[in-house]
Symmetry: C2
Subunit: 490 residues, 2 copies
C-alpha cells in the first residue's frame, strides 16, 4: 500500500476519495460538480444496470425515453413538488452562440433567447405525467409500467464523487395505475426489488422503511426507502420508491374511464436508484488496502498473474495461464490474464488488490510442473495453493464464498452498530459511536427538526418490520407507539 493512501481511521473522507481516484473509478471534471466516470467505474455501473434492468423487465416494466428539458412552468403545476425541488437546477435560457464581434471566441447570441426557459430534468415526474395524459383514456390503457435510464442534474453546492454530484446517472420508474391498492403494491414491489438487489448483488444489508413526512419526496404521499450503513457509522439512502397518490394526475389532468364508466384520476408511483450506489458499494466493503468488490459487481472477477524469471519461463507459464483463462471464461467468469512484460508481478499484485479484484491467481514454473496455482482472496487477503484439477468449479465456489462473506461481514458490522436509545443522553452518546439508533419519537416534524438541529441526526426511516412497542419520545417525552431509526447520514 502506497504511503500517500489514507486509512479509514486516519481520514475516512480522504480514504474514500483516494479509493475513487486511485482505483480509476472516477475523477473531477473541468465542470464544477460534475465527474468523469472512468471505464473501470463505469463497468461497475453497467453490471448494476444489467442486473436491475433484468429485474425491472421480469416485473413487467419496459424502458422508454423522455426529453431532458422540462418547461419551467411545469414545475409550478404540482405545489409540493416545486417547493421541494425546482430551485437548484440548470436553466437553459438561449439556443445559439455566435462569434464574438471582438474576435474572442464565442458569445451567447442574445437574439436567441427562449420564450420560456427550459430546466434540465432534476427528476422527470412533470414531463412524464404531461405525456401520460395522452396515453390514458380507459382502464384498458392501464397500468403503464415504464422505466427510464437517464442523466439528471441537481445543482448541488457541496459535491462528492458518486455520492452527490451536479449531474448523475440513474433510472427512474414512473408507473400509472387504475387503483390506489395497485399503486401501493407497485411501490412496495419495487422497494423489494431494490432491497434484493442491494443484498444479493451489492452484498449490503439494507433496512426497509418509510420516510417521515419531513423527509418525503416532494409531491409524494409516502416515500419508501432502503437504508444502508457505511463503515464510518453513517447511513446512506440507497434507493427510494414513492407512492404519489393522484397528485401528479391532478396536476397534469390525467384521467381514465373506469370499468364502471366513471371518470377518475390515475394513481402514480415513481422509484429510482443512481450512481450513488457505487459510493455505497465502496464505503460498505473497502479496506485500508483499497477497493473491495463483491464478485457479482466486479468487472474483473479473477485476474491471473504469471510469475517468471526468463523468457523460457514466461512462455511456459503464460501458455498454461491462457489455458486456465479460457477454461474460466467458458464458465462465464469475468477473467483477465495480465501477461504484460512491462510491469513486475509485485506491481500487478498491488494494482489488482487496490482495484478490488475478488480473486488473484498467481502461477509460476513450479506450479506448471506441480499442476498447482496460488489463489489470493481480496476479502480476507488469504493465500492458498490449489490443485489445478477442476479449477473452474473451485473458482465458482470461491467467488460465491467471497460474495457471502462480504454480505456477512457487512451484516455483522451493522448488527454491532445497531443500538436502542431510551433517553436523550443515551441517544447523544450512541450517536458518537455511529450506527443505527432505534428510538421512540413523538411523530411530530417539530421534534424531528429539533433533534436534527441539536445533533445532525435524521430519521432514516420508520422500519417496515418492527414490533409495536409503547414508549416515550426520547426528546419530548410524549407518548410513542413505535421506535424509528435515527442516524447521521450522507
Amino acid at each position: 500500500m502506497a504511503k500517500d493512501f489514507s486509512t479509514r481511521e486516519e481520514n475516512y473522507s480522504k480514504w474514500y476519495n483516494d479509493i475513487v481516484q486511485r482505483a480509476d473509478l472516477a475523477e473531477n471534471s473541468a465542470v464544477r460538480g460534475c465527474m468523469v466516470i472512468k471505464p473501470y467505474g463505469y463497468a461497475i455501473w453497467e453490471l448494476m444496470q444489467s442486473a436491475l434492468d433484468q429485474m425491472f423487465k421480469d416485473t413487467g416494466h419496459s424502458n422508454a425515453y423522455f426529453p431532458i428539458f422540462i418547461p419551467k412552468s411545469f414545475f409550478s403545476k404540482e405545489a409540493d413538488h416545486v417547493e421541494g425541488f425546482a430551485k437548484e437546477c440548470a436553466v437553459v435560457t438561449h439556443y445559439r452562440l455566435k462569434n464574438d464581434p471582438n474576435g474572442k471566441g464565442v458569445v451567447v447570441d442574445e437574439d436567441a433567447k427562449l420564450e420560456e426557459e427550459l430546466i434540465i430534468r432534476p427528476t422527470s415526474e412533470t414531463i412524464i405525467w404531461d405525456t401520460y395524459r395522452n396515453w390514458v383514456q380507459s382502464y384498458r390503457d392501464l397500468p403503464i409500467l415504464v422505466n427510464q435510464w437517464a442523466n439528471v442534474v441537481r445543482w448541488e453546492m457541496r459535491t462528492r464523487m458518486f455520492l452527490r454530484t451536479a449531474e448523475f446517472l440513474w433510472q427512474e420508474g414512473h408507473t400509472a395505475h387504475a387503483t390506489k391498492e395497485e399503486a401501493l403494491e407497485e411501490t412496495r414491489k419495487m422497494l423489494d426489488v431494490y432491497s434484493v438487489f442491494a443484498e444479493k448483488f451489492m452484498a449490503i444489508p439494507v433496512l426497509k422503511g418509510v420516510k417521515s413526512e419531513n423527509e418525503r419526496f416532494a409531491g409524494a404521499i409516502d416515500t419508501y426507502c432502503i437504508e444502508a450503513l457505511m463503515q464510518d457509522g453513517k447511513a446512506l439512502q440507497a434507493g427510494t420508491s414513492h407512492f404519489l397518490g393522484q397528485n401528479f394526475a391532478k396536476a397534469f389532468d390525467v384521467k381514465f374511464t373506469s370499468k364502471e364508466g366513471k371518470l377518475e384520476y390515475v394513481w402514480a408511483t415513481s422509484w429510482g436508484v443512481s450512481t450513488r450506489l457505487i459510493g455505497a458499494l465502496i464505503m460498505a466493503h473497502s479496506d485500508d488496502h483499497g477497493l473491495v468488490l463483491p464478485p457479482k459487481l466486479a468487472p474483473i472477477q479473477v485476474v491471473i498473474v504469471p510469475i517468471y524469471k526468463n523468457e523460457e519461463q514466461y512462455k511456459l507459464v503464460c501458455d498454461k495461464a491462457d489455458e486456465i483463462r479460457l477454461e474460466l471464461q467458458k464458465k462465464g467468469i469475468r477473467v483477465k490474464l495480465d501477461d504484460r512484460d512491462t510491469y513486475k508481478p509485485g506491481w500487478k499484485f498491488n494494482e489488482y488488490e487496490f482495484k478490488g479484484v475478488p480473486l488473484r491467481l498467481a502461477i509460476g514454473p513450479r506450479d506448471v510442473e506441480n499442476e498447482t496455482i496460488e489463489i489470493a482472496r481480496r476479502d480476507t487477503l488469504e493465500k492458498s495453493i490449489y490443485n489445478q484439477k477442476d479449477l473452474a468449479n473451485k473458482i465458482v465456489h470461491l467467488l460465491e464464498a467471497v460474495q457471502d462473506n462480504l454480505y456477512q461481514k457487512a451484516l455483522t458490522f451493522r448488527d454491532t452498530r445497531t443500538y436502542y436509545a431510551d433517553s436523550w443522553d443515551e441517544f447523544k452518546q450512541l450517536l458518537e459511536k455511529g450506527g443505527f439508533i432505534y428510538a421512540h419519537w413523538d411523530g411530530t416534524t417539530e421534534t424531528e427538526q429539533k433533534i436534527k438541529e441539536e445533533t445532525k441526526a435524521t430519521i432514516r426511516c420508520i422500519p417496515l418490520v418492527s414490533k409495536k412497542e409503547e414508549g416515550k419520545c426520547i426528546y419530548s417525552g410524549k407518548p410513542s407507539s413505535q421506535r424509528v431509526v435515527f442516524a447521521l447520514a450522507y
Copy 2:
C-alpha cells in the same frame, strides 16, 4: 389498413410520420423539437445498443461517461470545430429558480448567474480531450479506446422524429493513439463495424466512403461514412467515423513521451451512430401496411394469436399456444402470446402487422386437433399452414429467411436506383428519379456547392471501393480521376 394512413406514393413524408406514431415508436413532446421515445421504439434502440456495444467490446473498447456540460470557452479551442458546430446549441446560463415574488410560479433567480455559460454537449470531443490530457503521459498509456452512450443536443430549426431532433441518443467513440497509422486503422475499423451492423442487423446495404472536404466533420482531417438509400430515393448518412489527426490533441495540449523518448501529440479518432438509425430502419423496409422490422431488431419476433369462438375453445387454444410460446422462448426467440379477450383476432392481426412483427402465428381449435398452425410472414404477407412438429426450428429458419429477404430486397432496390451520369443534363434527369448517381467531379468545393445550389444534390461520399477512371466533371468539364456518389439526402 386504416383509411387515415398514407401510402408511400400519396405522401411519403406523412407515411413516415404515420408509421412512427401509429406503430407506437415515438411522439412529439411538450418541448419543441424533442421527442418521447415510446417503449416499442425504445426496445428497438435497446436491441441496436446491445448489438453495437458487443461489437465495440469485441474490438477492445470500454464505455465511460463524461459531463453533459461543456464550458463555452472549450468550443473556441479548436478553430474548425467551433466554426462547424458551436452555434445552434442549448446554453445554460443560470443554476437556480426562485418563487415568483408576484406569486406566479417560479422565475429564474438572476443572482444565480454562471460566471461562464455551459453548453449542453452537441458532441463531446472538447470535454473528452480536456480529460485525456491527464490520462496520457507515456506511450504505455495509449491507446485509449473509449465509447460513451449519451444524449446530445443540437438546436435544429426543422425537426423530424428520429431523423433530426433537438435532443437525440447516440454513442460516441473517442480514441487516442500513438501513431497516425494506428488512428487511421481505428477509423476504418469502426467504419467496418458500422457497415457490418447496418447490413447484418438492420438488413440495409450501405456504401462506404469518405466525405468531401465540404461535408467533413468540423475538426476532422477525414470523415468516413456509411450511406444508405431510402425508398424515396434519398440518401441517409447512417454513421460516421472521423480521423481527427492531432487537431484536438493540439487544441487541448495532449502529449505523450514516445518509446524513443520524444514528446509528441496524440492522434485521435471519433465515431458515432444515433437514434437516427431507427428512422433509417423505418424508411428502408416499411410498406403501405405499416412498419416492417428485420427479425434481429424486432422487439417481438413472433406473435401468437389464438382463434376461438367460445370459452371452451379459448382454453383449449390458449393452452396449446402457451406451450408453443414456451418452446420458442427456450430457443431464444422473442415471442409474445396475445391472449387478451378484450380484442378480436382481426384487430390483433392488423395491430401486429402495423407494428412490423416479422412472424404472426394463428392457432384455432382445428389446428389443435390437426397439430397445425398458420404462419404469416410480414415481409411477403404470405400465409402458410405448418405442421407443429419441430416448430421452433422452422421458426428459426423462417426468421433467418425474413432477415435475408429484407436485405436482398433493399439491395435490389439500391441496385436499380444506382445510376451513372456522364453529362449535366443526364445528371439532372436522373436526380428526378431518385437514387445514387455516380458521376465525375473536379474535386473543388466551388463546383460541389454550385451543384448543390442548382439541384440540392450533395456528394454523399467518395466511395472506398471504386475503380480509377479518367473522366470529365459533369458540371465544370474539368478532368477527374474517379467518380463520386451524388444524391438528394436526409
